[in-house]
């Protein structure tokens, strides 16, 4: 039986008369977007916290949007992504004084989906590396404390707080990851495995999954062609879009030059008995003339034609 719980992480860009825009541009574009994902057979939908008010505006409410998804063959909204990529005096996970504010924001987001059965509350546990360094155990512990606290709260709302580590975040090496997980409560804080981000940071995502299987609640299946060898991760002002050596970090599954061994990961996932969602993501697919629709097709093709063989 092929894996059926595939969800899509909402990074899409669509052509509008006002230029390339996210589908939240207007209701008609959002409808078209959902139909395209539906045609490919995705059953879960992940989105960003900041889209929730827009979805509510377009469909009347977030539950009404979820019903629209269900009318198009989806099961539900599966994950909500929340992040503070950039430290400010108001929000910075490594600064304890900002924790009350972050906690309150997270609570507001979680409340916005009360009554649905969203499973994951996905967070970037830190801001950019260069705003945190030197990265000390003490700072990692401060961040861990925050997410323990948030994790307890989200569980009360039926969602697991699960941590997604950017290659340019302050928790990026295997040692830092292990330290962070050792300071967080396995009952409260979970692991979200982004295959490309770990690979860029020089961490083996398959090994990460193997080692944190019991805490893993989700994946971003995306690929990369490059390991960060120029310390782009700590280069201000921004490593993700502005790294001098690399113009595009992320690719969909199934491109030439991809570094992630997806079949190996898939075998590992199947063997482990993991039964959660697998999420497809491709960030910035339009760079170099690409298109999200096409990248999503190629990735789903890869799932149905390559990964399906592995998971059979």
């Amino acid at each position: 039986m092929a894996w059926s719980k595939w969800s899509y992480m909402d990074h899409w860009v669509t052509e509008t008369p006002q230029g390339p825009q996210p589908p939240s541009f207007n209701r008609a574009h959002m409808d078209r977007y959902v139909k395209q994902l539906s045609a490919l057979g995705f059953r879960g939908f992940d989105t960003f916290f900041f889209y929730l008010p827009m979805l509510a505006g377009m469909y009347g409410s977030v539950p009404a949007f979820e019903r629209f998804l269900q009318d198009n063959g989806f099961d539900k909204i599966t994950g909500i992504f929340s992040a503070y990529p950039y430290a400010t005096r108001y929000t910075a996970p490594h600064v304890r004084e900002t924790h009350d504010r972050i906690f309150a924001d997270c609570e507001a987001t979680v409340r916005a989906v009360d009554g649905l059965s969203v499973e994951n509350f996905i967070v970037m546990p830190s801001t950019t590396y260069f705003q945190v360094e030197p990265v000390t155990e003490e700072k990692i512990k401060v961040m861990a404390d925050l997410w323990n606290r948030v994790g307890r709260m989200t569980l009360e709302h039926g969602m697991k707080t699960t941590c997604h580590f950017e290659f340019w975040g302050a928790i990026r090496t295997r040692e830092q990851l292990d330290l962070f997980f050792s300071h967080t409560d396995p009952e409260l804080v979970f692991f979200f495995c982004d295959t490309a981000q770990h690979t860029i940071a020089g961490v083996d995502p398959v090994q990460m999954f193997r080692d944190y299987r019991d805490r893993c609640t989700g994946f971003h299946f995306k690929d990369t062609h490059t390991v960060d060898e120029h310390e782009a991760y700590r280069t201000p002002p921004d490593p993700e879009l502005m790294a001098p050596e690399v113009t595009r970090w992320f690719y969909e599954m199934g491109t030439d030059g991809g570094l992630v061994d997806f079949p190996a990961l898939m075998r590992e996932i199947v063997a482990s008995g993991y039964d959660g969602w697998l999420t497809v993501e491709h960030d910035k697919a339009e760079l170099g003339g690409g298109s999200y629709a096409e990248a999503t097709c190629v990735a789903k093709w890869y799932i149905d034609n390559v990964l399906a063989e592995v998971s059979r």
């Binding site: 390339p20 950039y86 400010t88 879009l241």
Partner: protein, 323 residues
Amino acid sequence: MKDTLRWAYALNQWNFRLDVFVRHSDQLRALKTLSACGFDHVELPAGTGRWDNLARPEVILLNHGDHAGFLDFLRRGSVRGVSSVYWDPGQPVEEEGWAFRSTANRHDHDAIVESAKPFVEFCAGVGAEQLVVRPVGSAWMSPPPDAHGLRTVGELWNRVGELAAAVGVGLALHYDCLGAVHTEAELVGLLEATDPALVGLALDTAEFTIGGIDPVAFYQRHAGRVTHVHLKDTRYADTGQEYRMPGAETTMLRGGAGRRIERWFFELGTEGGLVDVKAFVAALRSRAYPGWVVVESDHGGNPAELAMLNSWYLQYELSVAKS
């Protein structure tokens, strides 16, 4: 552009989405494009976060070190300076902890004045003549302002205007077609509630037209208050109540207002344009308008193409010598 008027170009049309127009190399291409089109000053857009690195002063400085470093960067694309900086204090931004503030709320005034300071300092530092601001929030989110409300808003902008004047920067209130100050009477009321020595008006030809105010007639009556101009065209005007649609930013300007309007703002010379650009520019000339005329086209289509078409219009329809 060599002319009795001073011409600049707005960069916002390139910055049409969160994650685009971030790399310096992309920005240099836009600057070179503008230079090749004959423009040597730019207006900076509003924004937030590390990817809007031509918007927030602190992010610009993080990218370029200091004011001189930023000007050096512009000059690598043969752009000599910054005409103006746009800022909307009602737009929640990361740098302000996503605070939602309203100029109509007196309790927010101290915080807004405080948050204006980096912009004023930045304008002074890079030689931008005008800080262009959105004076009020959207109409659909608030009732039409009464005289008391206009006085409240006016007080705030007088304070910011004072701050700016102290370092030689002008403050221009930018009317837009969704704003709570919507009718000509309301706009005049707002201007009357502010000190002409400290606060000017940024007249945007397309926004006026969509909002139902004739930009030429208005300018003729209030030329003394107009300290900044945005020149762009539109093919549509609000039928009267569309700006009050809930979520008008999306439902009207993007959703087509239920009329399938795909795009509101257009380049100069567009077919079916409602703005009488030639009459407007003639009016500016006849009154020896001293400020910047910023050409923009907002979002829509290909930014380089729009800049080139606007440049052509200036050269061949408005007889502006390119060099």
